[in-house]
Structure formats: C-alpha cells, structure tokens
C-alpha cells in the first residue's frame, strides 16, 4: 500500500511537468492551430542556459528567473523570425518548420554543450523537512513550483487586460484588430509564455532525467498525450491530463508494463484518445475557455 501511494504521488510530481508542457502546447495550438513539436527542445535549451548560469556561480533562484526571461525572449524571437513567415502556409509546411526547429535546437545544444549527460542540481535540499517516505523533497518542490506557475498563468489570462486581449486574439483575430489589438504581437507573446512555461518544466525535470540534448523527448510525448487527454484546445484539460498521465505512467510502469516500457504508456494513451474520443475529455464542454 505504501509503495503504491509512493508511485501515485511521484506520478503526480511528474504529472506537474507534463501538465506544464501540455499547457505550453495548448497555448500555441489555441492561437495558431498548430502543435509545436519543438516545444520540448526549446525547454531543453533553456535548461542548458540555466546550467551555464549555475556553472558561472549564479545562485539557483536568480538563474531560474534569468532563464525564464531567456525562454520568454527566445519564444518571442522564434515566433517573429521563424514562424511568422509561414503563418499563412499550408499545415504540412508548418509541421516541417517545427520539426526542422526541433532538429536545429537539438543539434545546436549538442554542438554547444556536447551530448555528454550532465547532472543538474535541485534547489530543494534532499534532507529538507518536506521530504517523506512517499515523496522526495524535490518531488514536493517540483509540484509546488509547477502549481505556482500554472496559477500565475491562469491569473494572467483571467484577470489582466493583456491576458484578455490574448484570448480574444486567439479566438477571433479579425474582430481583435477592430478593437485595436495588435494580433501579431499577441501571438509572439503567446510563444514567449509557452517557452517560459516549458523552461520551468525543463528545469524541474532535469534533476530527475539528467541534462542532455534528448532529455525532453520522452517528456514531450507525455505532454502531448496529456494535451490530447484533456482536449488539445482546452487549457484546464491539459493540466488535468498532465497529472492523469503522470499517475497512469508511474503506476503502469511499476505494476503493469515495467519501467522499460513506460514510454509506450504515452503512445498507448495518444492512440487510445484519438481512436475513442478525439476531442479529449474536456474538448467539447469548455472548448474555447482558457
């Protein structure tokens, strides 16, 4: 029983990471109706930036904040420079661009930082008081950090004028222009925010999966599964889907398929959702709410 509880709780901790990645995917999907396959690599690269800062002796939380800034700026830059020219292009072109972006960022990271696996520190000391037999301090801290980030994101979209304008721009670009919203910039800011949320996932995941250019490959798959479970156009669903996938993956890995085949759980979920309920659990009820 205790072991089972441990699996569920640590699944929730991983779920926080998947939820963040899923939310980042959903944000871009809502605004552009494209799935950003490079989301994971953007997060991985940001995590390397954090690692560089830490190597240079910058205190963890300062490096964390600076990395968020970098991830936001990088997201905005990618939208402005790479995505914008293909805005009106056919879907396959955009998919090709995203996959190209994935490969470029991945190779760039390998070239700059080498493919050697690196340890990445956790900001939560392993003997902290919030550790328990069920969850390590890092897992507790990870849940806390992702929850804070998710709460801030929802607060931003729900209660700030800029958040409202971004929701409007995603929903009805033509009308948005007619009330004076600069729709192009809203998209860029959306990319920036998605990059920022992804970088949190990267920095929180790195102490567990270690830092290397492929660290986000599996996580992106889980995140994509999570987004599909919740409904690819529903932010709340994506977050809930993230935690669901995290628990499912851990429990199935421990009791059903074994840890080697864990990743197949994500693939099984993706196929299962697409076959049984393509709109996801919440895709219909709350379609356009963020």
């Amino acid at each position: 029983m205790q072991a089972f509880l441990h699996q569920v709780l640590s699944g929730l901790a991983n779920g926080g990471i998947y939820a963040s990645v899923a939310l980042a995917l959903v944000m871009i999907y809502q605004a552009t109706h494209h799935v950003n396959f490079a989301q994971g690599e953007m997060a991985m690269f940001s995590t390397y930036v954090c690692w560089l800062l830490l190597q240079a002796g910058v205190p963890y939380w300062v490096a964390f904040i600076l990395t968020l800034g970098f991830a936001f700026a990088a997201g905005v830059a990618i939208e402005r420079i790479i995505v914008r020219p293909v805005e009106q292009a056919p879907v396959l072109t955009v998919v090709a661009v995203f996959i190209g972006l994935l490969l470029i960022i991945n190779s760039l990271a390998g070239w700059l930082f080498s493919y050697t696996i690196k340890a990445f520190p956790s900001p939560f000391p392993s003997d902290a008081w919030y550790g328990s037999p069920f969850m390590s301090p890092h897992e507790v801290g990870m849940i806390f950090v992702t929850m804070v980030v998710l709460a801030l994101v929802f607060f931003f979209f729900r209660f700030t004028p800029l958040g409202l304008a971004m929701r409007a721009a995603a929903q009805n670009p033509v009308s948005s222009r007619l009330v004076g919203i600069r729709v192009g910039w809203m998209l860029a800011i959306g990319w920036g925010l998605a990059g920022l949320i992804g970088s949190v996932a990267g920095m929180m995941a790195a102490p567990i999966v270690y830092l290397d250019p492929y660290m986000m490959t599996g996580i992106l798959l889980y995140g994509f599964a999570a987004a599909l479970v919740g409904g690819i156009d529903n932010a709340w669903g994506a977050v809930l889907g993230g935690f669901t996938v995290g628990v499912l993956e851990n429990v199935a890995g421990a009791y059903v398929v074994g840890t080697e085949l864990k990743l197949t759980v994500a693939l099984a979920i993706i196929i299962g959702v697409l076959v049984i309920r393509p709109s996801g659990l919440f895709g219909r009820v709350l379609v356009t709410r963020v």
Partner: protein, 241 residues
Amino acid sequence: MSASADAILETRGLDAAYGPTQVLQALDLTVPRGGIVTLLGANGAGKTTALRAICNMMVRCAGEIHFAGQRIDGRATEDIVRLGIGHVPDGRGTFVSLTVEENLRLGAYTRRDREVAQDFERVYGYFPRLKERYRQQAGTLSGGEQQMLAISRALMLRPKLLLLDEPSFGLAPLIVQEIFRILRAINQQEGTSMLLVEQNASIALELADQAYLLETGRIIMAGPSRVISSDESVRRAYLGY
C-alpha cells in the same frame, strides 16, 4: 486635393480588390462631421468591401482615405481603429465565448483613461438588456442582443466615426426599429458620425442625412436622403413601392 474641413471621412478614387477581383472602382465618399451617411446597394455591390477598405482589412486598396484631417490609407487596421473609427462588422464579430462584460472591456482595450467604468454605464444606458446579461457568454445572446453588443463594443472606443455593416441583418422588424432609434440617439447625444451600410433601404434612408447608391462597385447616385428616397427608380428597385 486636400480634405475639406467639415468632413470626418473622405475617400478619393478608392479602388478595392480581393486578389484579382476588382470590387470597388474610384469610390468618392464623404461623411460630414456629426452626420449620418448611408451606402445602399444590392448584394455584391461592394458595400461591405467599402467599409473593409476604410479599415484596410482583408482587402487590397488603392486611392486616398482621409480621416479627421489625416491620410489613413495603407495603415494597419489596429492603428486606424486607434484613431477613433469603430467598426461594427458584418456578422457582428462578437467574441462568442467571452462574456458580455469582457467583450465591452475589449472595446476599451486601447484606452488608458479612467473613464472606462463610466462608459460601461453609458452603453448600458443605451442597451439596458446587456446589463442584465453582462456575465453571460456572448454566443448565448439572441441575434438582436449580439448586434447591440457589437455596437456597444464599438462605442467603448469612444469613436469619432462608427462604421455599421448591416445592423438590421437577420433581425425582427421591432428589434431593427429599436436599434435604429438608439443609433439616432447616439448620433444626437454624442455627435458620433456614422457610415451605415444597409440592404434595408427604407429604414436606412430614414436615419441617414445623405445617401450613396452603389451598383457593382461604382456610385451611381448620391444626395440627401429625402431626394434619394423620392427618386422613382430607387423607389422601385430598393424600396419596393
């Protein structure tokens, strides 16, 4: 040619096209400050395109457009709007999954002054039904209420000029009368100039001071509404009596 001082909007030789398809040809249009002008014509005559051309939206244009003394042709839609042109588009263009209140807040998105709260009361004064439904999703409103919301959203901008694209479309006659009565009140109380595109010629001619008749992209007749509405051929073609 410089724009005349008493005009809020003036187009000179305005052409508009969707891709290779020419829709408007050499449109000369003047909306006097504080006046109401209507643009009449059959389906496909280019009425909606004329409004889109003014806002540089979804259509390729050539020619001059002057608004409140400055050239606005070629500028981005959002910049034209920020100068004070409230566009109530065809199909109403409300944000259907946002609430009534959020729609209105978006209307005031470009404003940074402190009188926005006051303006909520102002538009609720014109359309009390929206106040009752301010928490409701716009998509759940009736057609008439959505039209009221679209007009209100444009009013939140405090526009100098309102562009209205068929506000009567798909609405019951009683609702149409109510909306046109309120448009007149807005014009009289706030001095907002209006350019009204309509298929319902009789109610449009009743509201407007000036009318233009558009046929396949060209103006074929222009003058005071009284004169236009008493014209024999207009009466037969557009008013049906």
